[in-house]
Symmetry: C2
Subunit: 270 residues, 2 copies
DNA sequence: CTCGATTATTGATGCAGATTAATAAGCCGG
DNA sequence: CCGGCTTATTAATCTGCATCAATAATCGAG
């Protein structure tokens, strides 16, 4: 067996005119209904695309930011470097994810974000996006939903780190990455290209590299996965999910806008 | 030395007519400017207050919820029970916090929330709150800010669990709780009533009860804190913050609403 | 005030996973 | 296609913290 190396997955460019291959718009549409007028307004606040090279930092801990970037292509990791030299990756970012949550909402960034592969981003200023939200509240509601989902997924990570064994964490990480990649068309039914090095994954899982390696070896020895280069295939995805108590995330829609003043006016404080 | 027990802090009821002693409104006002018309609309969606007894579950993992509850009084913990019987507390809730993030935004709750003391809540339905957001977008923006802040604080917890030592975690926990209580007037400059049992804290920090106890003992032995009953006093808050690399959170304001269509209309995709 | 239940404290033992080190394998720039 | 650098793999040792166990303190209900 050999390495798990970062790799830029080869995507068939769908060559569709504007939005359909845009993972961020897809993400928004998962939460709210967007008409063409909405899309037009959204386009108006998005500045030109921005390319970022592998290993560049998009966000540096401690600095101020006022931009939102939507990942069109490529992978990144949000992390914190500690004084003792250790690093904790708090999550990995895939196409459709938003850079700038939470950095741009805070006085100063509390985490760094680094590009793991070459990336393509769509950038807009937070102020412009907020202005858009004032005009079209569905965007702020969609952003709420995205932020809440982000919070929920961090909370799950807390459980991972606090109370789950190393093998569970590794299995859950693979399943989680697979399901997120599948959601944006970057994975097959049972496999995907893992764009992360073992060092990155060990920093994400709070393990040492040797131990992570051992757990990956064990998963293969147990006939649950195969690894060929950077390609991961699930042999028994069910057993893997069972072993690690993994359940994929369920999203919900923002409740649609109702009439102007809702019935609650009938109720009030006692 | 003796126990750290849950306790209902005695608050001087300020006896102010409506909102000024309301920690949730205070929380909203930290992010957005609210006029009296806004407050009136907010009041309209809030149903009657709701009292909850100590040890009752407010949210149960796996069930569906569509309510937001704002904590007026009392403490709670958000947690997950694992198959092996272990529990991970992902955060503790204090007055001003929102129950229902993320539970009510998901298909089914992924965490439980339990009352640690008797509580008083203000409840409203998510649908009504969303309707309010459509009418007054500043509420959805404030909710975004709150959700993002929640995400940022979970992310910090991930770092805690993944890469920080047990003594750092304990010190940081105490400092964090103190700063959150101080923000809603439940703490003095250098001390506070700790309403949590050691079992709860160990589940929050991913430690065993004996080990947490040992670390608390060590903090006292090192002359950093005193504990008398449920009362914690910082002797050297600076040293404590240094030791644990603690930095309090900085909030930001939502950028104020600008004119109707912003200047960005001048820019568009290349 | 008393009893039972919860919570805190302390000690002894074991193991999961860190640490360190050393080698091999693959990748990239020239 | 070569040499340096990054990444993966494997092994040996060490340790922080879990686990188990037992007692003491405290709380709260009656």
């Amino acid at each position: 067996m050999h390495g798990l190396v970062r790799a830029i997955p080869k995507i068939e460019p769908k060559a569709q005119p504007c939005w359909c291959d845009d993972p961020f718009v897809a993400r928004l549409k998962a939460h709210v209904d967007l008409g063409s007028a909405d899309l037009h307004s959204l386009r108006a606040v998005i500045e030109n695309d921005h390319a970022v090279k592998k290993r560049r930092d998009l966000v540096i801990d401690g600095y101020q930011y006022r931009k939102l970037s939507f990942i069109k292509e490529g992978f990144a990791a949000r992390y914190k470097l500690l004084r003792n030299g250790k690093r904790q990756v708090v999550n990995v970012l895939v196409p459709g994810d938003v850079v700038g949550v939470p950095s741009s909402f805070l006085d100063r960034a509390t985490f760094s974000v680094t590009a793991i592969t070459d990336m393509k981003l769509q950038v807009c200023s937070l102020d412009d996006f907020v202005a858009l939200c004032h005009r079209r509240p569905k965007f702020s509601l969609a952003l709420c939903w995205i932020a809440v989902q982000e919070a929920a997924s961090y909370a799950e990570r807390v459980v991972d780190m606090g109370r789950r064994t190393s093998i569970e964490r590794v299995a859950r990480f693979l399943l989680d990455v697979h399901s997120r990649l599948a959601m944006v068309g970057r994975a097959t039914e049972s496999g995907f290209d893992l764009p992360f090095s073992q060092e990155l994954m060990s920093d994400a899982l709070g393990l040492s590299v040797p131990h992570l390696n051992r757990m990956l070896t064990k998963l293969r020895a147990d006939g649950l996965i195969t690894i060929d280069g950077h390609r991961v295939e699930f042999i028994d995805q069910n057993a893997l999910a069972m072993l690690s108590h993994f359940q994929p995330f369920k999203l919900t829609q923002v409740p649609p806008a109702t009439g102007l003043e809702p019935s609650v006016l009938l109720r009030h404080q006692t």
